[in-house]
Symmetry: C2
Subunit: 463 residues, 2 copies
Amino acid sequence: MQALTSRLAEKNTIRLTPRLFATTSLSLFTIGLSVHYIRTALTSRSSLTTFSTPHGKSAVMSSSFKQEPHNLLVIPGPIEVSDEVLYANAHPSVGHTAPAFAAVFQDCLKMIKQVLYTTSAQPFLVAGSGTLGWDMVASNLVEPGEDVLVLNSGYFGDAFADCLEVYGAKVDQVKAPIGDRPGPAEIESALSQKKYKLVTFTHVDTSTGVLSDAKAICAAVKKVSPDTLTILDGVCAVASEEIRMDDWGVDVVISASQKGLGVPPGLSVTVASERAMAVLAARKTPVTSYFASWRRWLPIMQAYGKGQAAYFATPPTNLIWAFQASLRAITEQSPSLEQRFALHKESSLRLKQAVNDLGLKQVPLHPDASANGMTAIYVPSPLKPSDIVPKMLKKGIVVAAGLHKDIKETYIRVGHLSITAIDAKRGDIDRVIKALQESFAEAGWDGSKTSSRPSVVEHQGQA
Amino acid sequence: MQALTSRLAEKNTIRLTPRLFATTSLSLFTIGLSVHYIRTALTSRSSLTTFSTPHGKSAVMSSSFKQEPHNLLVIPGPIEVSDEVLYANAHPSVGHTAPAFAAVFQDCLKMIKQVLYTTSAQPFLVAGSGTLGWDMVASNLVEPGEDVLVLNSGYFGDAFADCLEVYGAKVDQVKAPIGDRPGPAEIESALSQKKYKLVTFTHVDTSTGVLSDAKAICAAVKKVSPDTLTILDGVCAVASEEIRMDDWGVDVVISASQKGLGVPPGLSVTVASERAMAVLAARKTPVTSYFASWRRWLPIMQAYGKGQAAYFATPPTNLIWAFQASLRAITEQSPSLEQRFALHKESSLRLKQAVNDLGLKQVPLHPDASANGMTAIYVPSPLKPSDIVPKMLKKGIVVAAGLHKDIKETYIRVGHLSITAIDAKRGDIDRVIKALQESFAEAGWDGSKTSSRPSVVEHQGQA
């Protein structure tokens, strides 16, 4: 171990080194499934370069891997992923209990908390999609027969309610009209009529592009029903919209890797407050799931949180390496997290203004209810999404058709998340705007002929 | 579309082309979430080479990507992954509802059935680990209060039983001594005493290296309790052990990407027979999970099975590309599937013989009960696993320590799956044998001094 430590010391320009020193003191047999020569984390050094970030830290990135040329993917997830993240996703196999991997996992647990401005919450990083986070909430925090309030701003509210009912919750919903979200008065009124175990809301509903006011919802719950846990479905919001778990009092954030977090899909990312974990600890009936059981995952996450490995089910190792690469970009490199949110807003406003200038309406009814990571655009009759989407494709740009069942054939969706939103050098936003202008023109749409050119403030839903 | 079709025709040396032609006839809006310029599947052509397989088909592989040098990972999963598979895991982002991606998904659904020799069973490919397959079986095929028989040959039998009980099953177990598996007489006796909805067994228990006789178990069930469904946990068996679903009458095979299937972890691979799907269709109570619900996934898998996309939860797109790359190697390239099983046996026998020659005992009590994809080796007292594993690491080889709680500190585990077992040019098996010989010698073990040099037939468990 002495020789290894010396060898590591020679490589101290590589950021992982301090942690690697720490891991050398771990018992190689703490868990006993497998161990791994610590040098592994350094094998990539031939292709690594070290550079300084605005925070004065150094960071590591691959200098050589370039992904294949491809169409620009601007649906609201999966999204464009950086070369560094894809390269990390092609990391050579490393055992899930290897100290080098445990250090990467530990890093991810630490950084996802930074993204959510929490010091005390417990992340769960598990192979799965964002949907698995619903099962986690429903099977860990609700006992059969308990009441849950779902604030519904689109398709994902309906689906989360379905999931809650599968695990025995009695669900009430406050449903907003399409393009809107439940208002504070409605929320307070609903909360004052019944004692709810949880209130859930979709921070950004990917089906409508509607943004909920997370801070205001938390404040309303705290005021009217302080024992109720607040569950934020942030699959299409984390890392593109500001979420301050500790300050606002969010109890659970549900997310996934493939949207603002900038990683290919396959990693369920759910973070639970101490209060939520206390509710789990106090439940009287057994947890109603196995793979989604936080009781089974908690010791595993706690071990990895200390840089040690433990086993319940195999983690998606390569996605964890990829997640580390993306979280480093988010938390340690330029732009800062705060700048990242501002850049998402800026890109979003620019795209939405261009949509307005084309005389097109958006699904969200007012700017406050508009997500910063996606734009849902009505295709004015008699045009249909099928008149626009293939024209965008011919220009090498992939946008999404509709999803919400009531308006599915009347609108399209454009995602502007992560590198597409924040890296101006890529020119993604400009390309998308130009392609939208050309595609609508080719389809015969002349925005100047609309009787009014409504700003986003004046939009009315078409459903 | 005419122009696109012509362009595709020019590229007809690329294997995907026939399918791409087919996908051009799909409605771009069948599902409506997003569509994708079909050209995407061809963007990689600059780095692709076409070559013939033993079956006379052509196949595509990357000619340039090489993974970083790293330690040889020979734990029983995750395992060494080929450059082609890792490169596919770094595929540029493609939408989960894009025709090009749907074609890849369709390909995977078709090929995993070939691996399991079934024409009629229904695969479910979902983001998750192998453990998620237990939740699928427990929540879809068992109604609360129904009886299940678990044939237990190690840690994973205990854990599967836990999972079944979470979803309300009443579980009986036939437990074999460590190193053995329940025998046909015990199984028949248990089955004749009670009517079981399911009988489950672990084909290869990763904690002990014990191989169950899948064919004999199926025959026993068919003979004594033909209505009982047979569930094969094949996480550490699929693609390294022969499994003939249709011929033997296996009703569900549960697996995951990171062992014999040769892909990084994160993809749950579960395949259900028509009989199992009929049992699901006939259940009287609701399915007791959401993310693991086959009712919700079935229309999605059926759509992808036709090369069309559908949405319930986001699939792990890059792992699906990687899975396709690995399944092509397994089903279309040399060696054939039958040769692959034979090569796993050959590598396994060679390693096990070397272990015998060292005077070391194995956990499985007899050769018929020994897996072909892993070897569990007792470390003779007073030596401990911690005397061997770090010495292997120093030689750049990662083996696993023990897992079964009763014998954890007395044995080590070596995986020999996929490319490590079948690609002699890699020399992995020779390296492992040499490193084992040297490591035991360095630890002071002199195999020639053992009173007898037991063959694998004479092994006795030490628990």
